[in-house]
Symmetry: C2
Subunit: 513 residues, 2 copies
């Protein structure tokens, strides 16, 4: 009955309006939940959790019901037969995709995964504390089984890991991701070997010392000022795990301060600026529709890493920023821009922990996780084999072997959430950052002089024009191709790190010189 109604209305202009109204309601519920999560991480009193959990669960179930309601399917079906404008078609495409995925998985399975993941978290935490993988293993096995079942509901004909990967990165196919990661492994293993063999001595202690938290916060504001963050649409706070969230009207940044790690708070703030700056570049008039929402995880991460690494870890940035930092911290008076640059780019020898990794070795941490979780989900690896395989790969790729599982396969939270397929988007983000930065420089000329002057407008204008303003209008491969003239490729990243680290560590066969 309702179906006929929707199809009868298909020729009316108002079918799209009714569809868009539903879409914006769903987005607004999601954005409200985003504020509640920000609040929970940043300002909520400790004992607020039970109420907050209920509020978020209610919003999540309302959003799910609005999306998976029969009426959504009817409106989609009616519109897909219609002659729509390009932008409308993009909105329909995006909603169709999530509609199909959410309606294909039984709610009981979604709830079982959610409940299992809730219970998995304390088990993982305890296992890590006690270095006891066996304590976590049965839960991990259950999660892998459930997520495989989940993938099977969505697409029984596809490789289950590919289906899970598409939850995080819907439009980059798994083969592309595999090819990129394979390339990173091939290029980075020998490059890191060369770095580790190098006799070059970098000024790694340029930021040694203790730095007052309040002054670090003032400096984090200086960083954001300097990069052009729009305070009328944002704010800076602290959170235990820094993140950015919000919409084009209100995109907030969080960071954290460690008195012995000034450099960490600066680079983390720049990273989160990159995320927020993408959000702020989404078009106002697309608010609460896919046209005003960010493309997926890899593109988001490309923005944070472009700013963190290509800008924030560049030599001209430190020529610009060191005088500003010295005003907050006079003890940096004798540090030179070159020393700051070297300190910001040192490659560590004992690479066991992903979140402490440098820009170069980071990706081998990702490759290892990617290979293991892919094999786990696809049934080519048993959970019980994970610790040994993990340690073997660390030895092979990074030349270090974890002595405990706590600093081995238990170090990351992701699997305890049932997040299989997430990790690779970090590396894809770095690869895309390099590709976009190269394209921007090819268009507008090198940015080094501008960065040295603290001028970021032209770089940002290029990103606005080629990435941000499009929201989800184009699928990711099209967005990348339009912005850079190429498909996703690791070439630019490889060239970037070979040049940068070749110079820094004076490596034969590498370097820009």
């Amino acid at each position: 009955m309702a179906t006929d109604q929707a199809q009868d209305d298909a020729s009316d202009g108002d079918t799209y309006d009714r569809f868009e109204d539903r879409v914006t309601r769903i987005s607004n519920v999601g954005n409200a939940a985003g504020i509640l999560r920000w609040d929970q991480e940043v300002v909520m009193p400790d004992e607020g959790t039970p109420a907050r959990a209920q509020q978020l669960s209610t919003l999540s179930s309302i959003s799910h019901e609005l999306l998976t309601a029969d009426e959504t399917g009817e409106l989609l079906a009616a519109l897909e037969g219609d002659d729509l404008a390009d932008e409308e078609e993009a909105v329909v495409r995006e909603v169709r995709r999530t509609y199909d995925r959410e309606t294909s998985v039984p709610q009981s399975l979604v709830e079982e995964i959610s409940a299992t993941a809730s219970n998995a978290h304390p088990k993982w935490k305890q296992a890590r504390e006690n270095d006891d993988f066996g304590h976590f293993a049965p839960t991990l096995e259950k999660l892998v089984d459930l997520k495989r079942e989940y993938a099977n509901h969505i697409d029984p004909d596809d490789d289950p890991y590919a289906v899970l990967f598409a939850d995080y990165e819907p439009y980059i196919d798994l083969e592309t991701a595999e090819r990129v990661l394979e390339r990173l492994r091939e290029e980075l293993v020998p490059l890191i070997d060369a770095v580790q063999d190098s006799d070059a001595e970098l000024a790694t202690d340029a930021f040694a010392g203790q730095f007052d938290d309040d002054d670090q916060e003032a400096l984090a504001r200086d960083v954001l000022d300097s990069l052009g963050y729009d305070w009328e649409r944002g704010r800076l706070d602290t959170a235990p795990h820094p993140f950015s969230s919000g919409t084009q009207f209100d995109a907030r940044v969080t960071t954290r301060f460690d008195e012995s790690d000034l450099l960490g708070s600066i680079t983390s703030t720049i990273h989160e600026f990159g995320h927020a700056n993408y959000t702020l570049g989404l078009p106002d008039d697309g608010y609460a529709t896919p046209l005003g929402e960010a493309r997926d995880l890899s593109v988001h991460e490309s923005q944070s890493r472009l700013w963190e690494n290509h800008v924030g870890r560049s030599r001209p940035f430190w020529e610009h920023f060191l005088p500003i930092a010295r005003e907050r911290f006079p003890e940096l008076e004798d540090v030179t821009p070159t020393e700051a640059y070297e300190a910001a780019n040192q490659v560590y020898d004992d690479n066991l922990i992903r979140v402490e990794a440098d820009e170069l070795t980071y990706h081998l941490h990702i490759v290892i996780r990617f290979e293991i979780e892919r094999d786990l989900v696809n049934g080519n690896l048993e959970v019980s084999e994970v610790p040994d395989v993990w340690n073997d790969k660390y030895e092979e790729y990074l030349g270090v072997r974890p002595e405990t599982d706590a600093e081995g396969c238990l170090q990351d939270i992701h699997w305890s959430h049932g997040d299989f397929g997430y990790f690779s988007t970090y590396s894809l983000g770095s690869v895309l950052a390099a590709q976009l930065y190269a394209a921007a420089e090819a268009d507008r000329g090198p940015f080094d002089d501008a960065i040295r002057e603290g001028e970021f407008d032209e770089l940002n204008a290029w990103l606005r024009e080629n990435v941000h303003q499009h929201g989800k209008r184009y699928v990711t491969p099209d967005l990348i191709e339009r912005a850079t003239g190429e498909d996703l490729t690791a070439d630019h990243f490889v060239e970037y790190v070979s040049g940068k680290y070749g110079d820094l560590y004076d490596l034969e066969g590498y370097g820009r010189r």
Copy 2:
């Protein structure tokens, strides 16, 4: 069809569960909206408004749809024929009431009122700025008409003002409110006359001077510490118009600081503490149902005013608190508790502005608004007559005549929101505060010594036991009767102010001595 289904299920225990699930969802959406409003007032960046407005509007319409859905009516009908526990009956009673009201008003009228009020606000603001009542008058007339129509939908047989009043105070009938306000007018007009004729000179300049904002904030935290505010479930921030909001798990306070008004920030903080403290006393296990939600505006205001006036403006409080205040502000060293007490209780001569009024004259401001809006809504007064009637009443009740409408009938925001019937809850709150405080002292003995020692636990325990823990379990008259053994009465308030101000101003025929 669905109706039969619900009624068939009435004998199942799960009808109530399904009903409660719906009720908690509605509450959780409302509580989420509460967080979004707190965020908007306290931390949201300036340009976040367009997105926030959409988010709040979406949550409000979802909440309305959940409440007014056929299924809600079916569940209510099924449960009302059922044999329910007392607490369940109370939940059904509360939901029935809002269901009946919200379903009786056409959504188009609700939207028209909302749109008219949105447009009214800038008109009122401009009218006040230009002292031009005529600029606001047509909009005010439209709002009065629309709200009369609204009332007529809810109950065509009742006096429309009584219907509107019940939006804010559902269980105290309008006759009771009128009787209380009439009594206040009769008692306070001569008392204020006597105060104004008094030769007593109070130490009104005890808190004269400039007080640093940061130190005021530290002192506001001292106030909250001293009163026993639970920081694990709350926080203090600043907002342009101080308010409290939240749930029993997370009840937050805001205040504001004016360097020339230290006393104002202290009393405002205590006032908001009273609201939050009520919320924190609601039972955890009633969260997201009427059993864990506060009774209505008058009861809420009774809590803020009990703490602000009966505690915070008492002499023993200043004996306790002045030494604490001196630690933040050594310049208060020579101020005595009596001087502080007098400064906190001075009665002003030129009483034109409600929000600047003292504890005594305040209620005549309310009586005037109550009389005028009642006559407006019931058709006994034309909008064009409001300014003259307003000014005449000020002259008659308070002995002052506004020279402009800006400081006369244009001073309050409420009518521009279409809020007719709200004002009286402020005075009912004060009256109830006095009644509750007297009952608490009758039960537990005078609290003066405890307050002097900074001990508030026993007073708070009495409030928890007799007011807070009940949530909405009892209708307001029953709650009052159970707590105090009497119906709502102004007797205790009259006795309290007669005694206090009689002593302070040395008035013949008044005073406790």
